[in-house]
């Protein structure tokens, strides 16, 4: 009889039993009560769901200069499981990044609880240089720790300290055009959004659509991470050089005249493109948290679109345009200024209270005679006058593509709040409120053959690698080309004849000053004024329109004294930056 329990058989049986036990154990684990927990744990290591925020679109000026972009910064945090020395971590992070020590220490000392508290953020928006410092400290402590290991000494440690890069909004031009651009609250990583200007108006386009994707850690499960397209980039109509010059001129003017604020808009009347829009104060959008200090008590972020005011005599260009267009008057229509004009039971007087005697319409505009313009409006009649004002867009938003535009309703006959005297006062820009951008759009018709263009700030949008240009839009044609040419010639002549400080040697410009009393609760009792100037040029082929508004100037209350020179300063820079030759040379070149 053969021996059953040979060594070979014994080994065979042993391996069989072990194998069976292994298989049984595999089955037991698969079906045990903790199997589901094991599976969940395994899932954590297979991959992770990651929310990918697209890169926020950039903003460029019309020549491609970057006005708003993105830069890499780091989030610094701790993997709580590996933290050994919270004190050292807090000291290092607070000294390098400037974060609050106590808060950092509290975050680094949070006990590790698997699945609940595994990571704590210590600081954000940390620069690459600061990360280099932290990295060097970490290496230094690691080498010290290695040297002291086994010698019974506790070495300081930055174990558990980690950082990860991400993009942050950045405005390389600082305060330049900040009133147009707005700002993005980049400190709020999850809920950041654009405020004011382009950043708010086009927030959805700029931010793109975040996507949640599953990113496997297992290389065998690798799959292409869906490409999250960046937010659309915007090319503005703003010209960086013009904007910079205009801001410098404005800041100087506000300072020199003691004005409480100032606004200048430069547009291309042929297209409605805004070439520059400057207003005070300027915010550095890189430090948007200073907003409350710079703009207290509901101060408008961009007065050019967000503050209505009584424009005063610059409004006369619209009254005269309506009268010329309806043939109510011509430039040579005579008018005898007796110093007052009765309308609706009230008497209208001139700015100086004087009687200017025999005038024609050019003289009326040149001397800015309220009495004359009130008479013109009365000849026109309220129906036609207000029809024209509405056609010029007064009383309505212009629809400019910037967040925060406001308007003031135009009081019309039959409203209940309208009185016959309003026809007289409205004719010279009192009792009616507009924003500077409304005046720019309306006056643009005079500089563009009667066609009124929609003011806009977006020149093109880049999405999915394609550039979509925005075509100019005609809002309306409130007056004829003939009327526009006639009034431009009148205003050109009036500036020359009065030797206005708005003139620029070698260039013909048309324009009108404005000085408006500021209403108070008790009427026009304040001596403070709004000084304005609206002008365009070259008169025979306008390529720019400039609107200047100085609020409450102290050195002089008159627009002709404080605002007209600012217009001249702006135009002197414009003709250089826009390559506009002097009139005689331009005509000579055109004839060749």
């Amino acid at each position: 009889m053969k021996a059953i329990f040979t060594r070979t058989n014994f080994l065979g049986m042993l391996f069989t039993v072990v194998g069976v036990l292994v298989i049984v154990q595999i089955g037991r684990i698969q079906t045990s009560a903790t199997a589901e927990e094991f599976r969940k744990q395994a899932q954590q290591y297979i991959g992770e769901y990651k929310k990918i925020y697209p890169e926020r679109g950039s903003i460029y000026d019309r020549w491609g200069h970057l006005l708003a972009g993105n830069e890499t910064v780091y989030e610094v945090g701790v993997n709580l499981q590996y933290v050994q020395d919270p004190q050292t971590i807090a000291a290092a992070v607070s000294s390098v990044t400037g974060a609050d020590f106590a808060q950092t220490l509290a975050s680094a000392s949070i006990p590790y609880v698997e699945g609940k508290s595994e990571y704590a953020r210590l600081a954000d928006s940390v620069t690459a240089e600061q990360i280099d410092q932290l990295s060097r400290l970490q290496q230094q402590y690691a080498s010290q720790s290695a040297n002291k290991r086994g010698k019974g000494k506790e070495a300081p440690s930055l174990s558990g300290l980690v950082w990860s890069p991400h993009l942050r909004r950045s405005y390389p031009e600082g305060t330049l055009a900040s009133n147009v651009i707005g700002f993005y609250t980049y400190l709020d990583r999850e809920g950041g959004r654009g405020f004011y200007g382009v950043e708010e108006k086009y927030n959805d386009l700029l931010s793109g659509t975040p996507q949640e994707v599953w990113v496997p850690n297992d290389p065998n499960l690798v799959q292409q991470i869906p490409e999250v397209p960046p937010g659309a980039s915007l090319i503005l109509t703003i010209d960086r050089e013009i904007q910079s010059s205009v801001e410098q001129i404005l800041d100087k003017a506000v300072k020199d005249t003691g004005s409480s604020s100032g606004t200048i808009i430069v547009s291309d009347p042929r297209t409605g493109e805004i070439l520059a829009m400057a207003t005070t104060p300027h915010l550095d959008p890189n430090q948007y948290w200073t907003y409350d200090q710079l703009f207290p008590n509901s101060t408008p972020f961009n007065r050019a679109i967000s503050q209505t005011y009584e424009p005063g005599s610059v409004f006369k260009v619209l009254t005269m345009a309506a009268a010329l267009d309806t043939n109510t008057v011509t430039p040579d229509t005579p008018f005898l200024d007796t110093g007052s004009f009765e309308i609706g039971g009230f008497y209208i007087h001139n700015w100086d209270g004087a009687a200017w005697g025999p005038q024609n319409m050019v003289g009326c505009m040149q001397h800015s005679l309220n009495v004359c313009l009130a008479w013109v409006a009365s000849q026109l009649g309220p129906t036609k006058f207000y029809d024209y004002l509405r056609a010029f867009g007064i009383g309505h938003k212009t629809g400019i593509d910037l967040a925060g535009e406001v308007d003031y309703p135009l009081r019309l006959p039959g409203d209940g709040q309208w009185f016959p005297v309003d026809l007289g006062t409205n004719s010279f820009g009192q009792g009616v409120a507009v924003t500077p951008i409304q005046m720019v759009m309306a006056a643009g018709a005079l500089a563009n053959d009667g066609k009124m263009m929609a003011p806009h700030i977006l020149r093109a949008m880049i999405q999915d690698g394609r550039q979509y240009n925005t075509p100019p839009q005609v809002v309306g044609t409130p007056i004829s080309a003939q009327t526009a040419h006639t009034e431009t010639a009148m205003l050109t002549q009036s500036l020359v004849e009065e030797s206005s400080s708005a003139l620029v040697p070698g260039y013909s410009v048309a324009g009108k000053t404005g000085t408006a009393e500021i209403p108070t609760e008790t009427g026009y009792t304040s001596s403070l004024t709004n000084a304005s100037f609206v002008g365009w040029g070259p008169s025979d082929n306008p390529r720019f329109l400039v609107y200047v508004w100085l609020e409450k100037p102290e050195t002089s209350k008159w627009g002709s004294v404080v605002a007209a020179p600012v217009f001249s300063d702006v135009v002197k820079r414009l003709v250089v930056l826009m390559d506009i030759p002097p009139d005689d040379l331009r005509k000579q070149l055109a004839s060749n």
């Binding site: 890169e55 950039s58 460029y60 000026d61 019309r62 020549w63 491609g64 200069h65 970057l66 972009g69 993105n70 830069e71 890499t72 890069p165 993009l167 950045s170 390389p172 031009e173 600082g174 330049l176 297992d218 290389p219 065998n220 499960l221 690798v222 799959q223 292409q224 991470i225 490409e227 980039s233 090319i235 960086r240 050089e241 904007q243 910079s244 010059s245 020149r459 093109a460 880049i462 690698g465 394609r466 550039q467 979509y468 240009n469 620029v504 040697p505 070698g506 260039y507 002197k572 820079r573 003709v575 250089v576 390559d579 030759p581 002097p582 040379l585 070149l589 060749n592």
Partner: protein, 157 residues
């Protein structure tokens, strides 16, 4: 007679053993070959998968670097910086009348920025990771057979 016949055709015991050993070794070699191929493909797939992960991370880093560099460039060429540099070099802003105008035929002046091509027919980017890197051995075999059958179908009427 019967025993003789059996004896005549019966293989020698050592030959039977050899056949069993041969069969066993054949099975072992087959299994080892399949395992080897599977291991090889898995290893290569894993390596390439890891490379893809690294390249995706690199791609993200490059995109951040591009954004960084654009912003840095914009900072060092900002209007304020350029004006300061020009002033330090002795330049002053040009005034009207200082300029010299020259007629340049066929020059239409400075044109606004074109930073991307205009809209055109839509382009669909092909997937960066080929399916062969993500499909299983079964998928690969099944699709290979299906493709071969399809090819055969095309050849035969």
């Amino acid at each position: 007679m019967k025993n003789r016949l059996i004896q005549a055709y019966k293989q020698a015991p050592w030959r039977v053993q050899l056949q069993w050993i041969g069969l066993f070794l054949l099975g072992l070699v087959t299994i080892a070959s399949v395992a080897g191929i599977y291991l090889n493909i898995s290893a290569r797939t894993s390596t390439i998968g890891r490379n893809i992960q690294q390249m995706e991370a690199q791609s993200e880093q490059i995109e951040r670097n591009i954004a960084d560099m654009q912003t840095t460039l914009a900072m060092i060429t900002s209007a304020a910086v350029m004006q300061k540099r020009a002033e330090e070099m002795g330049f002053v802003p040009a005034e009207p009348g200082n300029e010299v105008y020259v007629t340049v035929p066929s020059y239409y002046g400075r044109q606004p920025a074109v930073l991307a091509p205009p809209p055109g027919p839509g382009m669909v980017n092909p997937p960066l990771v080929q399916p062969s890197y993500t499909e299983s051995l079964w998928d690969w075999l099944f699709q290979g057979v299906a493709k071969a059958a399809q090819m055969q179908g095309k050849v035969l009427p």
